[in-house]
């Protein structure tokens, strides 16, 4: 009793008027405990199941309210606002994790049963029911998306450079405007367009080939590449450019050696986002690249399978024994996610190697 009174008697002028460090955690756990009790009572009262997700969510909400109130009482309005925003920002992150975890759990738990060597060593040729694999679809997806990237990144990046570094006047305005318009091309329309275009110029009304798919995907990819690269290039401080010009570096070298390396992290993020955006496209590939159960390495002739089409058709058209088809669909989905993750990693590696070392 006396010891406690003594210890509170000492006043540290730097920490008065501040909530102690542990306060945040205590309030959080307290709010969850309160909501847990309330929901347990509701569950017991109505005989329904204990709703843990609702308890956690409302607990989080209660925490946000409480931390603001406590901070306001102890620390004043400015600190209270700061704590409120911190709590909101962290909860935004946690809320975004919920679907992510649910989705990954679903895909992994459903995909693992068929995530075996056979899945990566076989196509679906002559396979009915169990067995078979997605090698033809994986190859097709890599080839089609790879070609689309090969088309889109140079075109998109150069366009972004034009818009940021060179573009003045009507052409630049037109390009900016129409890149925006291009983001509005529905994926299925891109597929229809590619089909109509190649059917016309190659004079083959039933044309289906991988390269057409690449073109359709490029139409969807280019605006994303332009938009994100443009944003990143704009953020390069003008001082850097001017310093380079002052040293007599020609403009093109300034762009290649100063501007792009400075923004390479953002640009690669944008490109990977663009790839992720198109690699899962089903509708256009179904129209222009078609459906096949066999391997095809040639982008320029014959139908080529792709993973999204594989997942979609396995789900939509199962045989009378549904389970093997569903297993293959989920395993295909898992593979697709892993491919994009791998691309993401590579992009990060590239960004880390080439970007200049900054203060953070």
């Amino acid at each position: 009793m006396t010891a406690a009174a003594q210890s509170t008697g000492i006043v540290n002028s730097l920490t008065t008027g501040r909530l102690p460090r542990w306060a945040t955690w205590v309030i959080l756990l307290g709010s969850w405990a309160i909501m847990g009790v309330i929901f347990a009572l509701i569950a017991a009262g109505s005989g329904t199941e204990f709703n843990i997700s609702a308890a956690l969510l409302l607990g989080l909400f209660l925490f946000i309210v409480l931390i603001f109130v406590f901070a306001y009482l102890v620390e004043g309005l400015r600190q209270a606002k700061d704590r409120l925003v911190t709590a909101l920002v962290v909860s935004a992150f946690l809320i975004a994790l919920i679907p992510l975890i649910s989705l990954l759990f679903t895909v992994v738990s459903n995909g693992l049963p068929r995530f075996d060597p056979g899945f990566f060593g076989q196509s679906m040729r002559n396979v009915v029911g169990e067995g078979g694999g997605a090698l033809h679809a994986i190859t097709g997806t890599l080839l089609i998306t790879g070609m689309a990237t090969l088309i889109s990144v140079p075109v998109g990046l150069l366009t972004a450079i034009y818009l940021v570094e060179y573009g003045r006047g009507a052409l630049a305005r037109a390009i900016t405007f129409f890149v925006d318009v291009m983001t509005g091309i529905p994926s299925i329309v891109a597929g229809l367009f590619a089909f109509a275009f190649f059917a016309l110029i190659l004079d083959d009304p039933g044309i289906r080939f991988g390269f057409g798919g690449s073109i359709a995907l490029s139409l969807l990819m280019i605006p994303v590449v332009v938009r994100s690269s443009e944003e990143m290039l704009k953020l390069v401080p003008n001082e850097l450019r001017e310093a380079a010009y002052a040293l007599g570096v020609p403009k093109w070298l300034t762009i290649l050696k100063i501007v792009i390396p400075t923004s390479i992290a953002g640009i690669t993020t944008g490109v990977t986002l663009a790839i992720a955006r198109v690699i899962g496209e089903t509708a256009p590939l179904l129209i222009i690249s078609g459906f096949t159960a066999s391997m095809n390495y040639d982008l320029l002739s014959d139908r080529m399978m792709s993973l999204p089409v594989f997942v979609y058709t396995q789900y939509q058209n199962p045989g009378s024994e549904v389970q093997p088809y569903l297993d293959r669909a989920w395993a295909g989905a898992l593979t697709l996610i892993l491919i994009v993750m791998l691309l993401n990693l590579i992009a990060r590696l590239i960004a880390r190697i080439f970007s200049p070392k900054l203060g953070r």
């Binding site: 935004a92 570094e165 983001t183 229809l192 944003e231 986002l273």
Partner: protein
Amino acid sequence: MTTTSTRKPRSTLRPADRIFAGSTVIAGSLILAALAAVAVFLIAESIPALIVDPAELKGAPSSFWAYVGPLAFGTVWAAFLALVMALPISIGIALFISHFAPRRIAQGLGYIIDLLAAVPSVVFGLWGIKVLAPAVTPLYGWLVQNLGFLPFFAGGVSGTGRTILTVAIVLAVMIIPIITAVTREVFLQTPRLHEEAALALGATRWEMIQMAVIPFGRPGMISAAMLGLGRALGETMVVAMVLSPALVINFVLTGSQNPSTIAGNIALNFPEANGVDVNALIATGMILFVITLVINSIARIVINRRKAFSGAN
């Protein structure tokens, strides 16, 4: 021709400079050419649907516009709902990663969110059908029972959870990583000096963000939101797989009769369409094109009014 008298103080254009500048112009023009080709294709294929007697269209609507109206409404409504959910969360995540999380783990957290971008739409569709829709059905039941007086939850509740709200949630999850990735990069580019100046003057972290980060990042945030909106407007497979559509206009979020979206409607009806119905579907595609164009133009105007912070002004 005298060479010396016209000399101006401008840098000499080296051949490499010309080539580089030229190639950027060619790339830009290529985009214009491609878009022109798509536009020609869309318009040429749409005309038959616009001039035909509407009675010959599927479902015999009173006019083509009566057919496309509910779809256009559904497209904008679903994308709007998705953006309303996604935008605050995305900005929160971006701020968390760029300014709140401990520096050591921030990169890793960013990668976790990028994982969401790695999920293809057909997988989102499967997840929406198999996991999300059954999970939210009881919640919808509760909403309709307790908040039924609001127009959003009026009428009967869907028995399968395949409503426009479910679709909007999936769409929001899909566009969160896109918006987050761009805003995060923009926030990270905030001039260090601005931030430190604010903190040195005694600002709390939130006040620093309000004063330095948000104004600097606003055009980027709007741009990111538009990228996300573009994706939500044009998303095909998720809508086709998850939504229980009908040709109606209403604001009910939890019912069985949901307005469909243009892209989803094309995916659903294209396989069995023939004759003028194909043209009608492509014409709806053109409408989607126009909708995106209008929304993007508005965003452009907003961004251009706040150009001051761009490094390359």
